[in-house]
Symmetry: C2
Subunit: 570 residues, 2 copies
């Protein structure tokens, strides 16, 4: 194998592929060079003047190393890994550090294994982090539990690259025994541990880092970034759909530059398709004034160094030929993408087939519910005052407002008010748990809606002004194996299937998006205010690590007190 590379490097034999007359970014020297780039098999063999069996004219174009997304939850795209790849590879991303936290909360290690196997036949390196915090809190019912013992067992697996974002930073700082066991297991295997420690400073940060944690994608302020860089963390510049911190780039300087890397964390299919992936981050960063070569270095070599991805992230002899040919360093439009030396996308279109998707039974039919009826959604209280949840448009932090309700026939009647019933129905273990709450200001009228994406345990979240419609929505979600449902009282039922763990669709990206647009429009048609993301805003109402009032399958939860609370106000 080496022999062939060496002979082609010398020019004694033709290279397999040559990118002719290219400008290319030299991330080592921080400059743009000119010449041909010769490729044999999966490797670059040389830069200079070369002939190839196949030649791609790159006159006027710029070649960059393939982008590396340092932290991403594929599930947030609602797409299978194959279809996810079909959107991001044509944008120039050739490696991702994927944390299958969501699907693992539903399916346990079957979820990890699914992502791993589904990624085997796509031209994208998927480095899989073992989710470290499943479930995210001990207060709710999730589909799986990876305690220290489980983590110790699974972290040894070859397909597991490292330990995913350690969100339970209080657990680290407080030396929770099970947390320590997880961290020590990862170190014993020499595997990297990703971090997640928003607004942790000083000695608490030192304590968190003594867990042996390498990265952070949550920081945004100058003070926090500077301290974390000084203490050895790699800082992710995040370009998600909702959560972004591209502004972190303004703290890059000549000395600390190598410690900044790019990621997307959570990015919707629509954004991937319409705006892009890491390429969009680069476009934005350069527009905001970051030197393009520095920006590209963050997205390539720096990330490869952080995750010890040997021979990836640069254009040099013996490095893997993961390459993106762009029209320039302003628009970053990818004209060609090569992965391990093979041309895998051209003019923004994937050249690989994703029609045969891996779809094991282990991740299907994950909505385990008893048949529900209208009475299951009755809310019995003594008085007529309750704590109503609210949510700001575009946010994930919820509020709490004391409201008066109509207490009729042993139930709260919300019809004709600005209030709705909110329920979280446990869907993993058939416990029959239903947590109930009152939600204010969302706008839905005359029916119910439901979704099986509900961070992080992904139970069924239902919203409605009609108990029977809510039951019908839940039963429909069970029938279709998860997704989104909209039930008009006395009328039609609309739905979108997310058959993979109730989180992702097994269909193709194109279809998913058109179905998705349709049902969202129908929800707005039933009154959901346009300032909300009709279904996805609901998915954060059960996330018990973000203030203030949340609803779990086990009941109403006051995040600030970190304890359950009564629905009825005193």
């Amino acid at each position: 194998m080496l022999e062939k590379l060496i002979k082609a490097a010398k020019g004694e034999v033709k290279a397999d592929v040559v990118l002719k007359n290219a400008s290319y970014i030299d991330v080592f020297s921080g400059k743009i060079s000119k010449g041909d780039i010769a490729i044999v098999g999966e490797k670059i063999v040389g830069t200079g003047n070369y002939d190839g069996e196949t030649e791609i004219d790159c006159t006027g174009l710029t070649v960059l190393p393939g982008y590396i997304d340092g932290h991403v939850h594929i599930e947030s795209s609602q797409l299978s890994p194959e279809e996810f790849a079909s959107l991001i590879v044509p944008r120039g991303t050739t490696t991702i550090i994927a944390d299958p936290h969501e699907i693992t909360n539903v399916c346990g290690m079957d979820g990890c294994e699914y992502i791993s196997r589904a990624s085997e036949n796509i031209p994208l390196d998927v480095k899989l982090q073992l989710p470290s915090c499943v479930p995210a809190t001990p207060f709710e019912t999730s589909g799986a539990r990876l305690d220290g013992g489980e983590i110790s067992k699974h972290i040894k697996k070859d397909y597991i690259f490292g330990l995913g974002e350690f969100m339970n930073y209080p657990g680290v700082i407080n030396c929770d025994r099970d947390v320590i066991k997880k961290l020590e297991a990862a170190h014993a295997e020499g595997k990297i541990i990703d971090g997640h420690a928003p607004a942790v400073y000083g000695k608490e940060l030192n304590a968190y880092l003594c867990g042996g944690i390498t990265t952070d994608h949550e920081c945004v302020t100058k003070e926090e970034i500077e301290e974390k860089v000084s203490k050895g963390m790699y800082i992710h510049i995040r370009h998600g759909s909702s959560t972004q911190n591209l502004g972190n780039a303004k703290f890059i300087n000549a000395h600390n530059s190598r410690r900044f890397i790019l990621c997307t964390d959570d990015r919707h299919a629509a954004d991937l398709k319409e705006k892009g992936h890491i390429d969009d981050a680069l476009r934005r960063l350069v527009k905001d004034g970051l030197d393009p070569v520095t920006a590209v270095t963050c997205a390539t070599l720096n990330c490869a160094e952080c995750y010890n991805l040997k021979w990836r992230g640069a254009i040099a002899p013996f490095w893997f030929a993961d390459l993106v040919v762009v029209d320039g360093l302003k628009n970053f439009n990818a004209l060609y993408v090569l992965k391990d030396g093979k041309l895998v996308a051209k003019d923004g279109k994937a050249l690989f087939d994703t029609s045969k998707r891996y779809l094991p039974k282990t991740v299907l039919n994950t909505v385990h519910l008893k048949e529900l009826c209208a009475d299951d959604f009755k809310i019995s209280i003594k008085g007529n005052k309750v704590k109503a949840m609210t949510i700001e448009p575009g946010g994930v932090v919820t509020g709490c407002e004391i409201v008066e309700v109509k207490n009729e026939d042993g139930d709260i009647n919300v019809k004709g008010t600005d209030l709705l019933k909110l329920a979280v129905v446990e869907r993993h273990k058939m416990t029959g748990n239903i947590g109930k709450a009152i939600f204010k200001g969302y706008g839905l009228k005359g029916g119910a809606m439901g979704i099986t994406i509900a961070h992080d345990s992904h139970n069924v979240i239902l919203l409605g002004d009609d108990n029977a419609a809510m039951a019908k929505a839940a039963n429909k979600l069970k029938e279709i194996g998860g997704g989104m449902v909209l039930v008009e009282t006395g009328g039609e039922t609309h739905y979108l299937t997310l058959d993979v763990a109730g989180l992702m669709s097994s269909c193709d990206a194109e279809n998913l998006q058109s179905y998705s647009r349709a049902i969202i429009e129908q929800a707005h048609g039933m009154g959901v205010k346009r300032e909300y993301e009709a279904f996805m805003s609901l998915a954060f109402l059960s996330l018990a690590v973000i203030p203030r009032l949340k609803i779990l399958d086990t009941g109403l939860f006051d995040v600030e007190k970190f304890a359950f609370t009564a629905l009825e106000a005193e």
Copy 2:
């Protein structure tokens, strides 16, 4: 274990050791910070404000990460690993990438194993590279041969860190089958390969790099350095006793800085003791204008990144407490050195005991000779003209001069002339091989001298104007198991024992130096010109990879023609 670190990081329990009120270099941000540095066990747990069981007042002092020597042959110090450590650790070096190329040429894998085991009980990380080119040329008789098969076997060993400098760059570029086997074996184990490719450019460099080679310590010109950096190599800035390229530092800039690392390659004990080790390089680099924080970063984090030494090379929580406390960034005088959290040197003195040195039989008694007599050194020629070798003072390149000799009684008589007899006696396999030559201009009169250091096969090199004295010198070297010998015709015999492989001394550094100074002085007393390093200049007369005329145990060798040549001139 983590629990203790975390609790101390939080300040809940006292740290083991705290460096109080320090300035310290933050290699991530490129700045100097202030605070206490707290240590528990072998790790730093935090920077800030801490109390410790032991506290070291660092007011007015600066703390740096322990230095890493990226490429060194311990044998060049003529000291055991233990004694080598006793000189360099107090200077601030805490990790070395050691290539035991010399001892392996004599003892084979026993030599590697000796260095490894002798390094086990010293407070210095010795990362051992498997010598890649043993023997250095196929033309001479060495003590060992590591072909592709041997390399494939030994590279798998746990104590082997990587593959040592691949000096046989023509072999890589020309796809020599055995060379390819060695390279592929290292890649199969995921082990790093060090480079050595002086003045290799363009497609030949591409070809060399397609061997998967990471570093180069031979380059010196702007053009060569820039090309090698661009093509992904780490560039060593070398501070050896003879070979230095500190000037490479002037090609460091903000973009390429992370690709420069420091090394010493070959450094004599006297320089280590009197001038220093990496600390001396830093002193010189800063004096020459390099930013001190950049210089320290090259000697620490950069080198750790190059060799993937996880959690080494910086001062941050969870990083190993390899630390040097210096008086300032001008003089770099090390007042304290900590290795893995333990104080191991103070005020330039080692605090560890090196009196019990590991000394296995496998590396002793390596001078295998039949008893030699005066007649063995007769040189029979037909005419009276021969090719005489010459050497420039301070250099290793030899010259060739045609000289007239006295051809008397079937021998060349050099007495009373400016000529000397030079002989290389094979000492590994008892072949009886003696290569003979004539050497001009060295100055020795009335006797003979000999040494068992003779690069790279380390046969016995003898020089003299008296056949009987030469035989006596050889026999003495056999008797003492290697070293340096000086025989006065009809007078005394002086010697220095290098009992370990005939290359290194098992005695302590102090004694070795005083013996060494004495015998060198005696050699000059016998006429060896003071512009030569009396014994060590001889050690390069057999190095058949450096021009022009060399003497091997197998005969006189013309390096430019890469072939043997007759002694007698036409």
